[in-house]
């Protein structure tokens, strides 16, 4: 009853805002990923799924840590999170002035993001799911061919990252998903599937043979720098790493 009252209160005052942790449907379909399904040219098939409309916020992650104290920054096992984990918070159980409630949580490791999503019956999106959702602008399912759209995203990448993060709840894309571009980088489930490594240069040397089969990634759409930068960033990370600009959102499969 208390919860209903709160929800009504929020709905009344903030109808139309996007800050609630809701999931929206993303239709999926055949999609030309920058990472071809066969490492050559094949499209990928993205099944319909649901995606959090906004990234996970500091307030949400604080609530998770309160109920799962093994993820407090002063208790987490170092194998799951490096020392900078949640270091922008004032204390292990307090946000403080440098981590506002409705800012996206950052300085979170892949393991911590996984644990948060699992706790709400969800998972991290796959790279292809994220890429599919992020290809849309406000009116088109795939805006990637539009130079103006690419330019707008690259403009964000060129901004200095020193200033405070905006609250979640930017402009919605076609599916009602917000903040895929322009706010934070985001973990994906298969971040360690994005094999863009210097190792590919070693393919000819049998002593340094790194990869089964086709070798390192064959990137398609090399002009899409915005997406390629994201892949390069994700592929450079280890699962316990955290950064000041890396957050996450969760996804759910549609049964």
């Amino acid at each position: 009853m208390e919860r209903v009252r709160r929800m009504l209160c929020v709905l009344t005052l903030f109808a139309g805002t996007a800050a609630a942790a809701d999931y929206v449907a993303v239709p999926g379909g055949t999609f030309s990923s920058v990472l071809p399904a066969d490492d050559k040219a094949a499209d990928v098939v993205v099944e319909p799924f649901r995606l959090r409309s906004v990234p996970v916020t500091n307030a949400e992650f604080l609530a998770f840590v309160a109920s799962h104290p093994e993820w407090r920054r002063d208790r987490v096992a170092s194998v799951f999170a490096e020392t900078r984990f949640l270091s922008q918070w004032q204390a292990a159980d307090q946000l403080g002035n440098d981590a506002l409630a409705d800012q996206p949580v950052t300085q979170v490791s892949w393991f911590a993001a996984q644990a948060f999503c699992e706790n709400e019956g969800a998972r991290l999106p796959t790279w292809n799911e994220w890429e599919f959702a992020a290809a849309a602008d406000a009116t088109r399912a795939d805006a990637r061919g539009d130079p103006a759209w690419r330019e707008a995203i690259l403009l964000w990448y060129s901004q200095p990252s020193g200033k405070a993060l905006a609250p979640v709840g930017g402009e919605a894309n076609l599916y009602g998903v917000r903040d895929l571009h322009g706010l934070v980088w985001e973990w994906v489930d298969d971040f360690n599937a994005l094999l863009v490594a210097s190792d590919s240069r070693d393919q000819g040397d049998p002593d340094r043979l790194q990869f089964c089969g086709a070798g390192a990634l064959n990137l398609r759409d090399r002009d899409n720098y915005a997406v390629l930068m994201r892949i390069a960033m994700l592929s450079s990370l280890k699962a316990a790493d955290t950064t000041a600009n890396l957050g996450f959102r969760c996804a759910k499969s549609i049964e």
């Binding site: 919860r3 709160r6 929800m7 209160c9 929020v10 903030f14 805002t17 800050a19 942790a21 399904a37 066969d38 490492d39 094949a42 990928v44 916020t57 307030a59 949400e60 604080l62 609530a63 799962h68 093994e70 993820w71 208790r75 987490v76 096992a77 194998v79 799951f80 159980d93 946000l95 403080g96 002035n97 506002l100 409630a101 409705d102 393991f111 996984q114 644990a115 699992e118 706790n119 709400e120 019956g121 298969d190 360690n192 599937a193 994005l194 094999l195 490594a197 049998p206 002593d207 340094r208 043979l209 790194q210 990869f211 089964c212 089969g213 086709a214 070798g215 592929s235 280890k238 699962a239």
Partner: protein, 216 residues
């Protein structure tokens, strides 16, 4: 739920707005499965494991004889750990060869103190039966080697904790990086190599040192 709400009130920003935005996320969500979260990754009956032990990760495995075990059950002896899949045409046979050569670079006494664990990237196809076949095909030592499978989500997490990258292709082949990892008795990664084919002399030296340090 009052604790986080109390802290947000201290913010310089418009406190009411922040509070109201935060509330629905602090309340239990209607579509959660009754608050029953899945087992946490960080804790269990693991006691005094170091924080950087890979045994912190709960991974349920099944070996080539269909026996169930947990990754952390390997605690107590030195482990060479790598990942592979049985239908891999080229690199994975090399991983097995390299592990054998590494074992053979040790004395019999040294080798007896070391166990080998290979976990499949491909649980869909690598059944226990399939893993068992590899022992015969590749003349693998059944006393010191374990070939194992786990669920898809645990494959991703195990690879993450071992620093291995892999990606399934549409034709079901799997691109993957190679790592042979040496775990000490508490599951800490103390050496690794990505060298295949020949024995990595530095890695063998690290292995010898660890065996000597483990003692009897």
């Amino acid at each position: 739920m009052t604790m986080p709400a109390a802290s947000v009130l201290t913010f310089v920003r418009a406190a009411l707005l922040v509070l109201l935005l935060a509330l629905p996320t602090l309340a239990p969500s209607a579509d959660l499965p009754g608050g029953a979260s899945r087992p946490s990754m960080a804790f269990g009956a693991l006691g005094l494991l170091p924080g950087d032990s890979v045994y912190r990760l709960p991974v349920a495995l099944t070996d080539q004889d269909g026996r169930n075990f947990h990754l952390a059950d390997r605690r107590g002896s030195l482990q060479l750990v790598s990942m592979f899949y049985t239908s891999c045409p080229y690199v994975c046979p090399l991983i097995i060869d390299t592990l054998k050569k590494t074992q053979h670079a040790l004395t019999a006494d040294e080798a007896a103190r070391l166990q080998v664990l290979l976990v499949s990237f491909d649980p869909e196809r690598d059944t226990a039966t399939r893993l068992k076949e590899v022992f015969g095909q590749r003349k693998i030592d059944g006393a010191s080697w374990t070939l194992a499978r786990t669920d898809t989500q645990s494959v991703r997490k195990l690879a993450a904790v071992l620093g291995v990258q892999y990606r399934k292709l549409a034709n079901r082949e799997i691109n993957h990086s190679t790592a042979i990892v040496l775990l000490n008795t508490d599951g800490r990664i103390i050496a690794r190599t990505d060298k295949l084919g020949d024995v990595d002399a530095d890695f063998v030296a690290a292995l010898r040192k660890a065996i000597a340090a483990t003692g009897d």
